[in-house]
């Protein structure tokens, strides 16, 4: 589920957007003990030049944006809005042998987005 009314909609600058993943969606809510779901989020938005007055941020993405503004080169294009920092989750569930299992998964939640 994407929470309605969140932020400036699909446009606007590259930022994290809320995305809630529910195990009920795939009918696993009977054997997943916890959590019922989790906020996975996703990244969306335009990669533009840094805001005036914002923190100085010269990196490859800004260079690409500058070059694209000065002389658009087919195929080069703008940088992409992607996850820049992720965190893990753990899932507690019954397996098919009725054991209680705790599994740990890395990089499952988007905490920050960035242009790359």
């Amino acid at each position: 589920h994407t929470e309605p009314g969140m932020g400036a909609g699909p446009g606007g600058a590259c930022r994290t957007r809320r995305l809630h993943v529910s195990f009920r969606e795939v009918g696993w809510h009977r054997w997943v003990i916890a959590p019922r779901g989790f906020l996975a989020n996703f990244c969306q938005g335009a990669c533009t030049l840094p805001e005036p007055g914002g923190p100085p941020a010269l990196n490859h993405a800004v260079l690409r944006t500058l070059m694209h503004a000065a002389a658009p080169t087919p195929g080069a294009g703008l940088p992409c809005c992607v996850p820049a920092r992720l965190s893990p989750i753990s899932v507690l569930f019954f397996d098919n042998s009725d054991n209680v299992v705790l599994r740990h998964y890395e990089d499952m939640v988007v905490d920050e987005c960035g242009c790359r």
Partner: protein
Amino acid sequence: ALEPAPSVPTTALLQALRLHEEPRGVPTLRPVPPVMWRLFRRRHPRHPQAARAGYPLRPCHVEELGVAGNIVRHIPASGLFPRPPETTRTSGLCPTWTVTFDLSGVEPAERPTRARLELRLEAENQDTHRWELSVALSTEATSPRPELLRVPVPPGLPLRADLLGPAVAANVSVPRTLRLALSLDCGAANAHVRLAEASLLLVTLDPRLCPPPRPRR
């Protein structure tokens, strides 16, 4: 390399979560052991208690148990619920038990880093001081197997024994079934003891789920 995602989302999600079996309908619900809740609460980053406990935690490490690992299983002795394991008296007045653990759900790539046997003995009004429990692998052969380890019976507390090394080899795949012969050494007492609960806490490390170490720039 990412494998091509299958068309059916559920299968793709199963594959991504490295679960090979479609979940079977409603599992046989049973209370979640406190140790599993504790481990979950410690690791689940969205849980405020985890935040208080000093997040971030090291990936692929079970802090509370102090071992490497990313999968923890609480495995009750099969056949224990609702029936207690069979009790036999082979020598003298002290009971022996045979307990079996189904480890077929553990994948060959997983490496055990902790295998802790937990037993709850019920001995009415008995002086369990100086009682000891002997653990051996159990096979169909009639000749007794060599003792793997011997642990004191703590009065009134669950008995715990670390099996990694003696009964479960480290750094190799776990067997599909672990069958143990438990013998109580109760001295000359005529022990009326019941094995109320037997479970195995198994921690494994699946290296395929661990992030590669970041090369230093």
